[in-house]
Amino acid sequence: MIEIRFHGRGGQGSVTAAELVAQAAINEGKYAQAFPSFGPERRGAPVSAFLRVSDSQIFLREKIEAPDVIVVLDASLIELVDVFSGLKAGGSAVMNCPPHKRKSLMPWNESYRLVTVDATQAAMNNIGLPIANTAMIGALLKGMGLIKLDSFQMPLQTRFGRLAEKNFQSMTQAFHDAQIAEPSGEAPLSSPAQELDFSGIIEKEALMAWKSLALGGDILEPGNSARFLTGTWRMTGKPVFHSDACTKCGLCRLFCPEDAIFRDADEQFIYNEDYCKGCGQCARECPKGAITMEEEAWV
């Protein structure tokens, strides 16, 4: 059995990617299961999905804590989420990454096998949209050889209909483009079977001891949602304000659904990095085209 954990952002198709691989595996006669991390669904927020593929029936209904492979659809997540958490020594990390940023991933290459591909570019080339999930499947197949590319024809057709062929092309391109870097460090020894140790698990799963909770689970601190930085959900770029074109009409501020646009000391409109979700509403509403959405740097 191989266990794979997908990391992405809400809306990027991580769950769909896991489902497609499971369907293709099942169509090949294998056993597979795919499921999301259940919970509130929020566009741009970090999400994970889980996939198991096996030659025999799978008797597990738990999350994957020690995956053999991680598939990261959006490398900016590395700053927000410990995507490598529990990844087995010598395991593979399949990363969506433009070529010029590949170097920044090298520190992880010491212990892990890196499979990198510019999946977003592959998606742009073939689908015309930056939806990289199917391309990432291509990279996963290149790295792991898990399932035949052709086995995806039917699941893609079922899922995407007339867009299936474009997705298949995106997947195929990523399959060919993906680069594999074997771990640079010493080959890890296969770890001996470990004793089952559950100590500390409850401390990890529970926020606090029941006696420490406020009465009835009340939240005593007013306004603590300010600490919830929804700006980390930004995935389609940040707004850039061009003061030369701006007439200070204030429509951007009015339309911002997050109230994340304000004026600085020089009366210039700026956005709040902590809460801007990058929806682009301000850029669409600006009558002067003084706001553009631009890609953000990561890592």
Binding site: E205, L207, M208, A209, L213, A214, L215, G216, G217, I219
Partner: protein, 390 residues
């Protein structure tokens, strides 16, 4: 001193709510609870009770309004029955989990269908896991006394939980009988004015009833369960105090003629009085019967039950609800569970009777005893249902 008076039990209970100086009553009328809330509405309208009476549009709203009222720190009361209680269902769990102290009377009535307004415990038994303290009154005096005690218990800083009092519909709720009504001075001496600290307080804003994922949900439930189980010593203290002041003593269960008994009946609610008379009749005929009447249903008094039934070899449990598809009725399940790890294993028989107002008379209890003592055979069903087969 209290005044011994002939009064309908619903009114005696409502008077106790008045004596408790309730601040808010939010209720929707439903048979057989109607007289309780009608009387309270009158007391408020006449200016006898300085309370806010919220005439809501449904039971769901009634209990929801009570949650808000209790959160604001008001002494809060509601009452319902049957379909009304079922309609409250989802909110009942929220009241206890949010640790909101309020008091509710339930005039027990069966559930539809068929449509039936008469008494049994089909309404309250499905609510046994709501996390409230649950008491069953046997007579008008208890309905009156338990109401005052309930407020004191609910608002105790060690408890802070909702408390409900069940009273059998009609046979208790509509019965006129002697009740020694507590005077206002006595009530004030026993139950101090509501000193609940408002949880909903603009000066100290907080979030109540927030989202709680897997990282806190279990701990909230544990906190709730600890509070419920911890309510028992507080209740015992309140009962001691009450007995000291009024001379009427209360326990989590009452026993009758268990000495040397060969069989014990277990009952709840007003029919326990009939059961008591049956015990006397049986004893006259040389059958050594006795009775345990459970007053505190939640938390369930396991230790008291086990010790009171020692060493009786045969037990007949009355369930006033059919739990379809279950091994037994809810009360018998509880009793059997209590005995599971006990060294002594008496024969325990479950009798489902008195459904939808079917007469529960001495005949019923005597038959329960006779059938239990006759022993079980291979063909004996796990539940004896008081039903016509042919």
């Amino acid at each position: 001193m209290g005044l011994r008076t002939g009064i309908e039990v619903s009114l005696a209970l409502a008077e106790a709510v008045g004596l408790s100086r309730a601040d808010v009553i939010a209720a929707y009328p439903i048979t057989p609870q109607t007289h309780i809330v009608e009387h309270l509405a009158e007391m408020v309208a006449e200016g006898r009770l300085d309370a806010e009476y919220v005439a809501v549009e449904s039971e769901h709203s009634a209990i929801s309004a009570c949650l808000g009222s209790a959160a604001a720190g008001a002494r809060t009361f509601t009452a319902t029955a049957s379909q009304g209680l079922a309609f409250m269902h989802e909110i009942l769990f929220i009241a206890s989990s949010m640790r909101l102290p309020l008091v509710m009377a339930v005039a027990n009535r069966t559930l539809s269908s068929p449509i039936n307004i008469l008494a049994d415990h089909s309404d309250i038994m499905p609510e046994r896991d709501i996390g409230w303290v649950q008491l069953f009154a046997e007579n008008g005096q208890e309905a009156h006394d338990l109401t005052l005690q309930a407020f004191k218990l609910a608002e105790d800083s060690q408890v802070l939980l909702p408390v409900l009092i069940s009273l059998d519909g009609f046979f208790l709720s509509h019965m006129i009988e002697p009740v020694t009504l507590i005077s206002q001075e006595e009530a004030d001496a026993f139950l101090s004015p509501c000193t609940l600290k408002p949880r909903l307080d603009p000066a100290e804003p907080r979030t109540l009833g927030a989202l709680g994922g897997p990282e806190v949900y279990t701990e909230v439930k544990q906190q709730q369960n600890e509070a419920l189980c911890g309510a028992v010593p507080v209740l015992e203290k309140i009962w001691n105090e009450f007995s000291g002041q009024f001379g009427r003593s209360y326990r989590s269960l009452e026993t009758y003629r268990l000495d040397n008994a060969e069989i014990a009946l277990i009952t709840m609610g007003a029919v326990s009085e009939t059961a008591r008379s049956s015990v006397d009749q049986l004893r006259e005929r040389g059958i050594r019967a006795g009775l345990v009447r459970i007053r505190l249903w939640r938390p369930f008094p396991v230790r008291e039950l086990l010790s009171s039934l020692d060493p009786i070899p045969c037990i007949a449990v009355l369930d006033r609800m059919l739990s379809p598809g279950s091994v037994n009725g809810p009360v018998a399940l509880e009793v059997k569970s209590a005995f599971y790890q006990h060294s002594r294993q008496p024969r325990i028989n479950c009798f489902v009777a008195g459904l939808g107002g079917r007469e529960l008379s001495r005949r019923t209890f005597i038959e329960m005893v006779n059938r239990s003592l006759a022993g079980e055979s291979h063909d004996t069903p796990s539940i004896h249902l008081d039903v016509r087969h042919a």
